[in-house]
């Protein structure tokens, strides 16, 4: 521990803490614009200057490590004067006229800093130079005229999403923030994660969706969980008048503020048509009806076929709803075919392995965040589970190696140290080849399996060259903390040999041992793992039977519509109109993710509660409500304990509840 004195107050902080953070932790406010608690200190704005006893001149506290015996003053008259000058210089640099700025009036850190210093005016006028405004991006606008060059956006782009799109061009007062080699943002390598929007202290980066819809003080903030995929990133949902104004990353959650476009922007860009009333098919036409009538119709059509109902639910539904769904159809109605819309493609293979094994085999996202060598198999983390991709990308400049095994083009191909493009469907052989290569080089860290394949045979199957595979094997075996991340590309085919090969490789390269589990599958949608634990991962086969689909607010795949279009009786529980609701006989309108509360179990087995943030319209019920109502109507008693239901199978990853 380090002991220092700030403004006469004795303070104890851990070693490595900056003076600015030491002050923050102890409720002492030092003004700053460029520093952000979640980004590397930069020391650019010079607003956080403090006086350190024994030092000749004031020094920036954001880049100064606290040291034993330091005596610091943060509020002396010369410091206040210096802050005034710094702020005046910042204001006079560009167009910082507040009346026509979106963040003015509470949301601008520059303006707030000036208020804190009681500045009534600035003594120097700007140079009236025009800086570029980039409006080419669909989600935000970059206005260099409002920029104070704090470089938070640049650091966020690099350190949060690992994308390195933003940088600066020119020098001194002419410096501007640019994308890539100064191309329009909309045509740049930007992945629209919006981290830059979230950290910008001024009105230089403006979110198109939330601009002018209210200052933070007008908005209600609810802590929730992103439903975009199985990673379960923490989000803050900002609402006003029962409407979501914006979504930002939750710094307190594991994702530490980082989101991808599916978490931040896409939920507000919903173009589908909302269902607001139950619909039933009358003379071939879907016709609006009441809930009472819809339920009567439902029981008339489903009761006779008891035991002959196929039922499938979206993995975006809450654990509560999924569990009730299973209780209703499996336990209550004795259906043989109860599954999820994912049909277990992202989860069934590894779950079966874990069950057979009797214990979990996968590790946590933190293992990924701290890994120095990532083997990515059958997962394109630029199209789904993007934040997991960010966790990898942000570490690449620090020396983390990336090896990709993917027969298809992968969005991260260009970033990989080694790209292995095997013949489609031969993933197991690639993993076997890597294992054999590790063993051949004498680099095996764990026990060598007796079933090990020959390197040559494996290479012949996957059609890869020996040099690449040997290099990759060495890279993996020599890493300190390797991890294998895999996805649907590996598991969807349902080849159990692939799972064996994966686990054996993890052992032989030392990714997994008695202490560490360096295996992680990204799985599917928000509650993919929960659906798997509830046993809802069979392949859907529809015979001549009624079908009940709880699709919620999920998108419906063409494949699914084709499979279900000819069902003799089709009930769809959905939030939006879709090709599926069009061929339904009965449609029950339900709330969307933001309108209902419930738990989500993420890819690493972390159970999180997502609060309802807005209220659905009157005729729309929550997914759980509908299932309970349907159960009552069909005389099924739901004795459902969803927490217990989750523990009936061995989980592929250790569960933790929060």
């Amino acid at each position: 521990m380090i002991n220092l004195t700030i403004n006469g107050k004795q303070i104890e902080v851990t070693e490595g803490t900056t003076v600015l953070n030491a002050a923050r932790q102890n409720g002492i406010k030092i003004p700053t614009l460029c520093d952000h608690p979640n980004l590397t200190p930069y020391g650019g704005c010079r607003l956080c200057m403090v006086e350190v006893k024994g030092m000749r001149v004031p020094i920036a506290s954001c880049t100064l490590s606290a040291a034993n015996g330091m005596v610091i003053e943060t509020d002396t008259a010369p410091l206040k004067k210096s802050r005034n000058v710094v702020l005046a210089l910042l204001f006079s640099e560009r167009n910082h006229f507040c009346p026509f700025c979106q963040v003015s009036g509470g949301d601008c850190e520059l303006q707030n800093a000036a208020y804190d210093e009681n500045m009534t005016h600035w003594p120097m006028q700007p140079q009236w130079t025009n800086f570029p405004v980039d409006t080419s991006h669909p989600n935000f606008i970059l206005d260099n005229n409002r920029c104070i060059l704090c470089r938070r956006c640049i650091r966020a782009c690099a350190e949060m999403s690992g994308n390195f799109t933003l940088g600066v061009e020119e020098r001194g007062a002419a410096t501007i923030v640019v994308a890539d080699t100064n191309v329009p943002l909309g045509q740049s390598t930007c992945v629209s994660c919006g981290s830059c929007v979230q950290v910008c202290p001024t009105g230089a980066i403006i979110d198109r969706q939330s601009a002018y819809l209210g200052h933070d003080k007008n908005l209600t903030v609810t802590r929730s969980i992103c439903h975009g995929c199985s990673l379960g990133c923490g989000i803050l949902v900002h609402t006003r008048d029962n409407r979501i104004v914006k979504i930002t990353g939750d710094y307190e959650n594991e994702n530490a503020g980082t989101l991808c476009k599916s978490g931040r922007f896409l939920p507000l860009d919903e173009r589908r048509v909302r269902l607001t009333t139950p619909l039933k098919r009358v003379a071939g036409q879907l016709t609006a009806t009441s809930w009472e009538d819809a339920l009567v119709t439902l029981s008339e059509n489903l009761t006779p076929s008891k035991g002959k109902i196929a039922a499938l639910a979206s993995t975006r539904l809450s654990v509560e709803a999924l569990s009730a769904f299973k209780a209703l159809f499996v336990d209550g109605l004795k259906s043989k075919m109860v599954t999820s819309v994912e049909e277990g493609r992202p989860t069934a293979l590894q779950s079966a392995y874990a069950e057979q094994n009797g214990s979990s085999i996968e590790g946590k996202l933190d293992t990924l965040r701290t890994s120095d060598c990532v083997l990515l198999v059958g997962a394109d983390l630029t199209t789904t589970h993007e934040v997991a991709g960010f966790y990898i990308k942000r570490n690449l400049p620090k020396g983390t190696r990336l090896i990709i095994v993917d027969p298809n083009e992968n969005g991260m191909d260009a970033l990989a140290n080694i790209n292995l493009k095997p013949r489609a469907g031969t993933d197991a052989a690639v993993l076997g080849a890597l294992e054999a290569a590790v063993v051949k080089d004498g680099l095996a860290r764990g026990a060598v399996d007796e079933n090990i394949v020959s390197l040559h045979a494996a290479l012949d199957i996957c059609e890869l060259n020996a040099e690449d595979v040997t290099d990759a094997a060495r890279m993996l075996a020599e890493a300190v903390a390797p991890i294998i991340v895999y996805g649907k590309g590996l598991t969807a085919a349902g080849n159990p040999g692939a799972m064996d090969a994966l686990v054996r490789l993890a052992n032989v390269i030392g990714a997994s041992d008695s202490e560490r589990k360096g295996l992680l599958s990204v799985k599917g949608e928000a509650n993919s793992l929960a659906a798997s634990l509830l046993g809802m991962e069979n392949q859907l086969e529809v015979r001549d039977e009624a079908v009940y689909v709880a699709v919620g607010d999920d998108y419906v795949s063409k494949r699914l519509v084709e499979k279900l279009a000819n069902a003799p009786y089709l009930v769809v529980q959905a939030s939006y109109e879709s090709a599926l609701t069009e061929c339904a006989d009965l449609v029950l309108p339900v709330s969307i993710w933001s309108e209902e509360a419930g738990h989500l179990l993420n890819a690493e087995g972390r159970l999180q509660f997502a609060e309802a943030v807005i209220t659905a319209s009157e005729n729309v019920k929550s997914n759980l409500d509908v299932l309970n109502t349907v159960a009552r109507e069909l005389n099924v008693t739901l004795n459902d304990d969803w927490r217990a239901a989750l523990t009936k199978r061995t989980s592929v990853v250790e569960l933790e509840s929060k």
Partner: protein
């Protein structure tokens, strides 16, 4: 004690600050009790007394030779000069034209604007004031008090006027400090 004399005028602004001043409503009577309100754009007397006033209040930035004259006249005739509103304090909305230059702004407004017919031209009557970059008041004459806001809040205006009328210098800070 004689009542302090207060005078005001406007330059390159939108008159919104004076509207906000009228928004102090019945408190205007209280100010009129405490102070002698002299020439303002909304009273009959149009120029501050040659014998001088105690407080001069100017709204708007300085964007031409006429504004300069107003600014210098007020400065020379008052003891305390108040820059009233964002335009006087910073240049405000009119100062946006400095970003493109006066000529381009005139061209856009008088010739190129969608609402103009093809006979549009930039006025060039020699009797017109000569245009310049828009400047904050303090760039032209020394200012004693800056009251920012676009417009300043009526409560802030009331506070400022009351303090000045009672012979004190207002302190613009905390709740009273808003730049817009």
């Amino acid at each position: 004690m004689t009542k302090p004399k207060i005078s005001s005028d406007w330059m390159a602004g939108c008159s919104g600050c004076h509207m906000s001043l009228l928004d102090i409503d019945e408190r205007l009577l209280e100010i009129a009790e405490l102070a002698d309100i002299r020439a303002t754009p909304i009273t009959d007397l149009k120029e501050p007394d040659e014998s001088g006033v105690d407080v001069g209040i100017l709204e708007g930035g300085v964007n031409n030779s006429s504004n300069e004259e107003v600014a210098h006249r007020m400065r020379s005739r008052c003891k305390i000069l108040v820059a009233f509103g964002d335009c006087a304090v910073f240049g405000g909305v009119p100062a946006l034209r400095n970003m493109c230059g006066t000529q381009e702004a005139l061209q856009r407004a008088y010739v190129d604007a969608e609402s103009n017919d093809d006979k549009g031209f930039i006025p060039s009557d020699p009797e017109l004031a000569v245009m310049s970059n828009v400047r904050a008041l303090h760039e032209v004459v020394p200012v004693d008090l800056h009251v920012p806001g676009c417009p300043p809040d009526p409560d802030v205006i009331y506070y400022v006027l009351k303090e000045l009328a009672e012979g004190r210098m207002p302190e613009i800070k905390d709740e009273n400090l808003h730049w817009h």
